[in-house]
Subunit: 108 residues, 2 copies
């Protein structure tokens, strides 16, 4: 957990999911992990990065828009999306973005 996604050379896509929770239940965490595993099974999935300290940011990386569309439409994911709205999230915002450039640094 809490790792850098090993994304390829741009361009690729990012789905930025920002959220605040009503309550951070164990069940929410379990479903979150299930959804991450579900994303992993998708052909165009490139990895994810996440952090939460009250405010949460979950970024999944994708090969193209078509892969994102398929992931969003998956039935298990649809159920989680419905429960998310009804039970877990106080507020969320989703931003679909095309990563055009990246660079990094690693200390020795």
């Amino acid at each position: 957990m809490n790792e850098f996604a090993n994304t390829p050379k741009p361009p690729y896509y990012a789905v930025i999911f920002s959220s605040t929770l009503k309550v951070n239940t164990k069940e929410y965490q379990e479903v979150s992990i299930q959804m991450e595993e579900l994303a992993l099974e998708n052909e165009g999935f490139l990895g994810y990065e996440a952090a939460r300290d009250g405010f949460g940011i979950f970024i999944s990386f994708w090969k193209d828009l078509d892969s994102i569309k398929k992931w969003k439409a998956e039935s298990e994911h649809q159920i989680a999306q419905k429960r998310g709205r009804a039970e877990w999230y106080k507020r969320f915002k989703v931003r679909i973005a095309k990563v055009e450039r990246d660079y990094g640094f690693e200390s020795e």
Copy 2:
């Protein structure tokens, strides 16, 4: 703090800064706040969202690539970038992305 950025209708740009720290010192936190204030002064700055739980994600939103370039080149920011590499960050990755679409949800 820990708020949603009130971004306009897409398209706009996101700078996704993911990082792990060597140490989370008070000074690092102070300089981070200074850098956020510095971003605020830029004409094309649209807001930011951030979360850290060991792994940190800081996303700043911008009107266009030109605004990002100006922000990156600012002298105070340049000094922080140098100190960041030398003192604070174990590793970081920067991704520049064009937000093409967004949607949200807010519970009643």
